[in-house]
Symmetry: C2
Subunit: 185 residues, 2 copies
DNA sequence: TACATTATATATCAAATTGATATGTTGTCA
DNA sequence: TGACAACATATCAATTTGATATATAATGTA
């Protein structure tokens, strides 16, 4: 068996605040959560079905609209499940940095190639960082709100690490810049 | 189709330096590479088989030992494949921080619970950081070696980001420390 | 010497996940 | 009216994980 479905916890965490459709859940994940977790329709819809069978969530008929919309509501059992997970401080943090992988194996291609990977990474991070700073500005005035405090912590994590990434990019660019080093010396 | 098998590139990158068995490859990945990529036997062995069929690697009989050992050697086609990947600066960097996920949804449990997650994370990072500093010390004297320079860059990435993590842990602990805040004010 | 434990080594499998694709509806702007 | 973007559910092959099975060689220890 692979590890328990983590996507279940993401869904339960979101449903703890409001009833949502699978599509809504995907949008929430693509927002601030995408900084540290991702989820696709291919995992969300099957997870909702299976959690419904387990009694962790329940379907709510949508009377209002004409369009098919299946809202999910978290049950007491679902809340218990979420809390049990939150109270366990064990956590697996998995990173897959293709940029770093390319850099690690970059010794057999020329430095200009490695440099291009660093610059592409730098651009990506710079863009995301300005979005995070916007999130931070919105959360800062209301840290007495327990939820906002916790959202703030994750956004602050993103900002701190992204700033470190950019600092590293500067160092990496400097080290890779001396492309003619061997021929000069 | 899911995205191309990235594990192939890890294997080709390793085989570019020396012939290895599947078991060796796993050990290499569990070393310095584990900072930014992971791989299991369940992906390594099937990848080796399929790459052999594609002509990217070839089996080398092991004459010496008595134990079953299948060494793999990278072909010219395999090297071309590796270089093509290295020369493409596009890269997807996927993070799965369960710690951050727990913190994001921590607003509905007490702060002591969130604090425990931060402390567990801090301990994990502190331990890994000292290992990285050891790697760095070993690589630093020989940065003229093109491979070492590239290894150094990834180790330096790890150190810079882990130091940022620890800085954030301090901030997070401070913000979560005021557990009686509401009742005091 | 005998025994237990750890490291070496290949391989497979169910479960989880991704990324793509299929299918159709509703709202908006020109 | 027509085009396009956003909404919404669902499925699938390919990939990956984490666990397990199986077996041999080396090492420590009683």
């Amino acid at each position: 068996m692979a590890k328990d479905r983590k996507i279940d916890m993401v869904i339960l965490g979101l449903l703890a605040h409001e009833d949502l459709t699978g599509y809504d859940i995907k949008k929430r994940i693509d927002g601030a959560i995408s900084l540290f977790w991702k989820g696709s329709f291919g995992s969300i819809y099957p997870a909702l079905s299976s959690m419904e069978k387990e009694g962790l969530v329940e379907k709510k008929a949508d009377a209002t609209g004409k369009r098919e919309r299946i809202f999910y509501h978290v049950t007491d059992k679902g809340i218990d499940c979420l809390k049990a997970w939150l109270e366990d401080e064990k956590a697996t943090n998995d990173l897959k940095y293709e940029t770093l992988l390319k850099l690690h194996f970059g010794g057999s291609v020329d430095r200009a190639t490695s440099l291009k990977s660093v610059v592409a990474f730098e651009e990506e991070i710079t863009e995301k960082l300005s979005l995070l700073q916007l999130y931070k500005k919105n959360l800062e005035p209301d840290l007495d709100n327990e939820d906002h405090l916790h959202y703030y912590l994750t956004v602050s994590f993103g900002i701190t690490t992204y700033e470190a990434y950019l600092k590293w990019c500067e160092e990496a660019k400097k080290l890779l810049a001396h492309m003619d080093k061997i021929s000069i010396i």
